[in-house]
C-alpha cells in the first residue's frame, strides 16, 4: 500500500483543477491505498461553507466534498497559516465527517487543521503527491 496525498492549491470554480482533482480522488478511492488530501494557499477556499455557483452558470463542486467520507477519504489536512492569511477559521469551513467502522460508526471530523511545519512533515512521508 502506498501513501497518496492530493494537494489542492486552487480556489474553487476559478479553474477546473479542483473539480478534476476531486474526480481523481474519487476514482483513486477504489484502489485501497492510504489516501489523504491537503488544502493550502487558495485551496482552503474549496472547503468554504455556503458556496453558490448559480450566478456563474457552473456546476457547484462543493457538495462533492461531503461525499468523501463515504469513499473512505477521511484525512483532509488544512493549513492553519493559509486560513489565517485569508481571514478564515475552521468555523467558516464545511462540517465534513466520516463514520468510523471500528468505533461503532461514530461520526468523526474529516478536517484536521495543521501548521505549515506539520504539513511539511506529512508531505515528506508520502509516496505519491498529486497537485491540483
Amino acid at each position: 500500500m502506498k501513501k497518496f496525498m492530493y494537494v489542492n492549491r486552487h480556489a474553487p470554480h476559478g479553474t477546473i483543477y479542483p473539480l478534476e482533482g476531486l474526480e481523481v480522488v474519487l476514482i483513486g478511492a477504489a484502489f485501497d491505498q492510504d489516501v489523504s488530501m491537503a488544502f493550502i494557499g487558495d485551496g482552503v477556499f474549496q472547503l468554504n461553507k455556503g458556496q453558490d455557483t448559480g450566478a456563474l452558470g457552473m456546476k457547484n463542486s462543493a457538495p462533492t466534498y461531503g461525499a468523501l467520507g463515504d469513499y473512505e477519504v477521511t484525512k483532509l489536512y488544512v493549513e492553519q497559516e493559509s486560513l489565517d492569511e485569508r481571514g478564515l477559521e475552521l468555523n467558516d469551513l464545511m462540517n465534513l465527517t466520516w463514520e468510523d467502522e471500528e468505533a461503532d460508526w461514530v461520526e468523526k471530523p474529516s478536517i484536521r487543521v495543521v501548521s505549515r511545519a506539520q504539513l511539511s512533515d506529512l508531505l515528506e512521508q508520502q509516496d505519491v503527491i498529486l497537485n491540483f
Binding site: 497518496f4 476514482i27 483513486g28 484502489f31 491505498q33 505519491v128 498529486l130
Partner: protein, 130 residues
C-alpha cells in the same frame, strides 16, 4: 528505476509539455524505464493529431507519437478530461455521435484508474504543469 509521468498542461501554452518530454527522453537515455505517461486537464491536447504548428517550430504531438513508436511508451489520455475538451478516438466518437476522431498515433484513451495505477506501479511519479 521505473518512472511514471503526468502532463497537466496543453502544448505550446506552457513549457510543461516540453519539460515532460525532455525528462522522459533523459530517463530513457539513462537506461531507466517509463511505466506510463498520463495526460490530464488541458494536457489531453497533447494527443490531437490535428495540431499543425509552423514548420520552424517543434511538433509536440508528433514528438510524443514518435517516442511511443520508438520506445513502446504507453501514452494515456484521460477519457473524462478528453471528452470535455474534444479529444476523441474512433470508439469515443462513435459512442458520442461525433463525426470524426482526432487522437494522435501512439495515444490511447482510458480512465483515471490508469493514473492511480501509474502511481502505484512506478518508483516515482513526476507531475508536470501548474
Amino acid at each position: 528505476m521505473k518512472f511514471s509521468v503526468m502532463v497537466n498542461e496543453g502544448p505550446y501554452t506552457h513549457q510543461a509539455a516540453d519539460t515532460a518530454y525532455h525528462f522522459t527522453r533523459a530517463v530513457l537515455d539513462a537506461g531507466h524505464e517509463i511505466f506510463r505517461i498520463f495526460f490530464y486537464h488541458d494536457g489531453v491536447h497533447n494527443g490531437t493529431r490535428m495540431s499543425t504548428p509552423p514548420q520552424d517550430d517543434r511538433h509536440i504531438v508528433d514528438r510524443w507519437s514518435e517516442l511511443a513508436h520508438d520506445h513502446d511508451i504507453d501514452l494515456v489520455v484521460c477519457v473524462a478530461a478528453a471528452q470535455r475538451r474534444g479529444i476523441l478516438d474512433k470508439d469515443e466518437a462513435k459512442r458520442n455521435g461525433k463525426d470524426g476522431d482526432n487522437i494522435a498515433p501512439g495515444f490511447r484513451i482510458s480512465g483515471l484508474g490508469q493514473l492511480i495505477e501509474a502511481g502505484i506501479e512506478a518508483d516515482r511519479l513526476l507531475v508536470f504543469g501548474d
